[in-house]
Symmetry: C2
Subunit: 333 residues, 2 copies
């Protein structure tokens, strides 16, 4: 009984940014160049168990019942090194992580993964963290993970502090504030060709539009917060599309250029516009991958799911309402 291992299991949701995050002002501390606003997605969850074991001589990672890749394992080891250094302990861990959605296909699995890992890794180490602390910590693993600490509608703040003490997320609205729905339309299950960190760095170094992206982000954040406060869905949607296209223009104009879209992506963008002309409130957004996410209101979600699930070129169609804060599942108690 003395040998009981310290462990904890946490569950976090992925999120989709409406006002996009692209670019880092500090790659080591992982400080974003711009703030962002996201919806936490109930349908895309990661559950992560961390078990510290004094007999291990390195961290081990399992994702969806398979051994993780070297790159994935290294990224988690680096993150756990930060946790160990911060709280002064030495045990390595077994990390068991399960997604209910495909990894690496532009569905931001790193956001839910590092949000869940932050809570599980600190709780298993006996630390009691505030949400703010968890957001600051998870940011070190993945910029968008800082937002997945909270449910509902979330803002990732960014400041000028070189240590990033203001670079954490806050909740703008709870999940039940507004009946928003997100349809995740999967056009390709392939892994993305170039990871977002690498593409962000390439954009910052080579895109002629990068500085203007950073400068113009502030007014987008301001306008979006107003739209949320007013529950102005048309404005929220229009700003979401604008921010997504502005963001995608950066890898597109990098040297070499990075095009995350495929032909299915463009067909769906066109389709969403046609639906809108027919009076259906639907707006698109895309992250660093070919998938299209359609933002709509709860009363239209069912018929839109039906519409898209019959479209050719769509491999899978997932409907999500807004998800909750990261939490301990209690599986270890």
């Amino acid at each position: 009984l003395d040998k009981k291992l310290k462990s904890a299991t946490a569950l976090a949701c992925a999120n989709i940014a409406l006002i996009k995050y692209w670019g880092k002002r500090d790659p080591i501390l992982n400080l974003p160049a711009v703030g962002s606003i996201s919806l936490t997605l109930d349908a895309l969850q990661t559950k992560t168990r961390v078990i510290y074991n004094p007999e291990l001589n390195q961290d081990l990672l399992t994702i969806n019942n398979s051994e993780a890749t070297d790159a994935q394992t290294k990224r988690v080891q680096k993150f756990l090194d930060i946790v160990r250094a911060k709280y002064g302990f030495r045990e390595y861990a077994t990390v068991i992580s399960d997604n209910n959605f495909p990894t690496g296909a532009g569905l931001a699995s790193s956001a839910s993964a590092f949000a869940a890992l932050s809570m599980a890794a600190t709780c298993a180490a006996g630390q009691k963290m505030t949400k703010k602390d968890l957001s600051l910590l998870s940011r070190r693993g993945s910029g968008s993970a800082a937002r997945s600490i909270y449910g509902g509608i979330v803002e990732m703040q960014t400041g000028e502090d070189p240590k990033g003490e203001k670079d954490y997320a806050i909740q703008l609205a709870t999940p039940d504030y507004w009946g928003l729905r997100v349809l995740i339309l999967i056009t390709s299950a392939e892994e993305k060709k170039i990871g977002s960190t690498e593409a962000m760095n390439l954009s910052a170094e080579t895109s002629p539009y990068y500085q203007q992206w950073v400068i113009s982000a502030k007014s987008d954040l301001h306008e979006m917060k107003q739209a949320i406060q007013d529950k102005d869905f048309e404005k929220l949607g229009e700003l979401s599309e604008f921010s997504a296209l502005k963001m995608h223009a950066l890898p597109l104009t990098s040297r070499p250029s990075v095009i995350y879209w495929n032909s299915g992506t463009l067909d769906l963008i066109e389709e969403v516009r046609i639906l809108r002309q027919q009076g259906i409130p639907a707006y698109f957004t895309m992250d660093a991958g070919p998938q299209v996410k359609v933002i709509t209101l709860s009363e239209y979600a069912g018929s839109l799911m039906n519409h898209f699930s019959h479209k050719k070129g769509i491999k899978r169609c997932i409907e999500s309402k807004l998800g909750a804060d990261v939490y301990l599942t209690g599986d270890d108690s």
Copy 2:
């Protein structure tokens, strides 16, 4: 015999910009915000006959044996008003224009049309124009028409002169300087949804990236001239893709956004990249429409034509070598 009408017929080629033109610094004089560099395309020609007739009370326009639209007719009338005012005569004209390629499908028919019209309209009026004069004049009809006055590789210059006296094209290289070929891959024969002048103005007013586009154009022009001088095909191709993507990022990030691509466009971009990985020198460019133009070298053109003509989604495939200067056909002598 005294009643012989004054007429002239001229032939001009379309062109494809490698360093793109997008945005106007003066909409009335049609002065471009940026310089551009293009290839004159032998395969895409417009032949235009102008017949002044004292008995007409307005200009009449026929395109490809059909009555032109009101918008097309008005544009030509406005242009002929400039010619009449400049040379002090009053006769209206019958204008008969024929393209050997589909109008309005992103194939820059206005470039060859206004280049041919400039020469035919001034010659029929008894004016002897230099190429520089023709370039300055045709610019008033269409910005890209100023380049179609010359064959081979052409630069549209731009200055800071408010009257635009330096805004005319010059020839950088003759058609036989370098064995460049352009394959025009038509993915859709539809008319474009929004004309380039309107989209340019929208970009200038609403895209956060427009100023940077204007600022960064100078170094692209400089680099491209160096690539042409060195006959460095890889550099020419890489710069062409960069300039095209930079240009398309402007309508993309306008409010409302304008997306000229369709799913076929993205498939072909991807296809060109795959061919390049296989060692085939091929680069893409696109104008304000969904068509993809592939730039290659003469020795690869035949096998690439064969490759693309068997691709699904391509409605038509045209191979072009570099075309000649605008000229009088002599049909009226």
